[in-house]
Amino acid sequence: MMMQKLRRSGELIRFGCKSLFTSRPNKNLVSRSVSGFVNHYKSKGKLFELSDGNYNTELHHPCISRNLGMLLQQYKCFGSSAASKIQRNPLFSSLDSRDVSYFKEILGEKNVIEDKERLETANTDWMHKYKGSSKLMLLPKNTQEVSQILQYCDSRRLAVVPQGGNTGLVGGSVPVFDEVIINVGLMNKVLAFDEVSGVLVCEAGCILENLATFLDTKGFIMPLDLGAKGSCHIGGNVSTNAGGLRLIRYGSLHGTVLGLEAVTANGNVLDMLGTLRKDNTGYDLKHLFIGSEGSLGIVTKVSILTQPKLSSVNLAFIACKDYLSCQKLLVEAKRNLGEILSAFEFLDNNSMDLVLNHLDGVRNPVSCSENFYILIETTGSDETNDREKLEAFLLKSLEKGLVSDGVIAQDINQASSFWRIREGITEALQKAGAVYKYDLSLPVEEIYNIVNDLRGKLGDLANVMGYGHLGDGNLHLNISAAEYNDKLLGLIEPYVYEWTSKHRGSISAEHGLGVMKANEIFYSKSPETVALMASIKKLLDPKGILNPYKVLPHSLFSH
């Protein structure tokens, strides 16, 4: 035991020295990249034009790239123009056999994964759009091990990618090059649950659905619910500030996460695992780790405020003839169902057709085909009262002409089949072929204009679909085509981003930026804001080893 400790500290000294040497060029890099950034944002408009120009040359000659002569690895992925231009940061070390044996020493043989098949899965995202080439996946069992891993990687300057359920849609959870994958899946214990306050404390690798099942036995529910619940981890949910179906009722994770524990790049464990609803002591640093996509630290534990499970849940599936009616219905629903409204989701006819064509056993709940469909869910404590309320509201809307038809689920089975349509869209898109996904926040009245505009622009080239969380002003804009093609992509980007920016929307409502939209952050954030983000990143992760090439523009960290 003593011997082991000695050896370990020996290693640390060895690599600690190395890191001293490497930190000098690193300092130069800091000043260089920051000044580079200053130039970048001063001539922001111009730069965008420039990159457009670059893009177009690549478009006509996809094989001839500027960097062909350079001996640098280049990252290629489908469906995103930005990511294809990334180069591996040469300051990062490459993995060697000593690293692997060190990890085996701290984690044990079986939690250091070099198996090709398992790495293949971990290197590829859920949509098979982003693919890294990592040679190593680590499975820490506790915070201490995460800390040891990061301390070592930081000293060796080995880049890492934190991974949970790997269900992200922007390539944030897979390596871009050869980053070491740190998967927290083994950290899956519920640590405490307070039945009075409803506060749940658990490890980051708990699967969302398992937490929901655990809470169900206690009479509580998670404040978030999303389609990927069967695989996604709570740590990943927090790191990406996942939204989902219940946001309209319970708010975002910035409100429901009461505390967390995170490990920063140098292995420091930050204990912010409070369980208090109110705590105004200094800066509330936990918020930095909610939604920063693992670029500032790895979330290892979470304390989250859960809600009592209410006995009466009702669901209606409504057809509306135009988008204006959907908007009016939302306003009315907030006014008339306010205290029991728990979801207000919409999908257009194209999305419905896609689901009907690609998923088995799904049928349109309403008899006629309409332009828009809306799911309204209420959650309350009095079955009879809630049901009467929902029925009365819908019948009134039917009389007013806001609703053209609709059905109310009579049992849970029917409710599940309605949800299956809304939640199955992602799966159906995947089956339909290539898909370009955009996750936009827009003023509610503008939401469907972008779908129509893009449809006009693309014509017969692709099927444009709009669906999402109407109650939260969040549109999932999806473009489905037979295959990925650069011409199509050129028509979509930067058009979608520019459109969103013009209407003061966000180019990432709940999916995050990941590798897909790291360079596009300026469409939604001012240069000053991004500059501050970059300084925070530098402060918490000076060597930039945590989830590199993601979230922030690559120009800030150019080498």
Binding site: S311, R363, L395, L398, I408, Q410, I412, N413, Q414
Partner: protein
């Protein structure tokens, strides 16, 4: 022709069943209750027969506490013409239910009685058969296809039996119990929910129907099935053989 459909209010199919701590039955307080799925199929079939012009009226019947009205409203929203609620707070076993249905049939004179083949709460699968016996009518159980011939007053029913399908002809009036594959029940649409509000539900009591509710069966105890023990990983074939021999005693 009138069609009488029995619909039962049960703990929702998707709810995890919990046994009451005193072992007298299943917990139904604060639990989502819905129409028994097989009864939904029975009602759907009756509605289709009416829509095809073979029947003039579909009557939904439910027996149980006051909340059974909700189940009947669902039936009316699906399209039944009127409801009959036999209100009681006791929980009856199939024979009593069959007696109540028989005496309702004596009053209403339906040409067909549809029931689900079983209720998902007690899984008895007895009521339909008992009603047919009490009325002295022919029965076709586990129906997966029903075709009516109005001129001959005959129903041709495919029933799911072990190893295949059996086709029966039954003279009307008859009792038919429905299986899962018969049809896919419709949803309750808003216009139909609205119409259902003005449809009548007649309240009756067991006394009105003069049914003897004395039961010969007493439930002693309701318990959960034994929990499955978690599995073990064996590291070698020898260990597996050893466990099979000495622990499981199967080889």
């Amino acid at each position: 022709m009138k069609i009488l459909v029995a619909v039962k209010r049960v703990v929702d199919y998707a709810v995890k069943i919990r046994v009451k701590p005193d072992k007298t039955g299943v917990e139904t307080q604060n639990v989502k209750m819905s129409m028994n799925p097989f009864c939904e199929i029975a009602l759907e079939e009756a509605l289709r027969i009416k829509e095809a012009g073979f029947a003039e009226e579909v009557i939904a019947v439910s027996i149980g506490p006051s909340q059974c009205v909700d189940t009947l409203r669902t039936g009316l929203a699906m399209g039944a013409d009127r409801g009959i609620h036999v209100e009681t707070n006791s929980s009856f076993l199939p024979l009593t239910i069959a007696k109540i249905l028989k005496s309702l049939a004596d009053v209403e004179n339906p040409g067909l009685i549809f029931l689900g083949k079983q209720a998902i709460d007690d899984d008895c699968n007895q009521t339909g058969q008992m009603v047919a016996a009490l009325l002295g009518w022919p029965q076709a159980t586990f129906a997966s296809k029903v075709v009516l011939d109005k001129d001959k007053n005959v129903a041709t029913v495919d029933r799911e039996v072990d190893g295949g399908l059996e086709t029966l002809n039954v003279d009307l009036p008859a009792v038919i119990t429905t299986d899962l594959r018969l049809n896919q029940p419709r949803y309750a649409s808003l216009p139909n929910i609205m119409k259902a509000k003005s449809k009548p539900i007649k309240k009756m009591t067991v006394q009105d129907l003069k049914v003897d509710i004395k039961s010969d069966i007493e439930i002693l105890e309701v318990t959960e099935p034994p929990k499955r023990k978690s599995g073990v990983m064996v590291s070698s074939v020898d260990e597996l053989i050893d466990k099979l021999k000495n622990e499981a005693h199967v080889v």
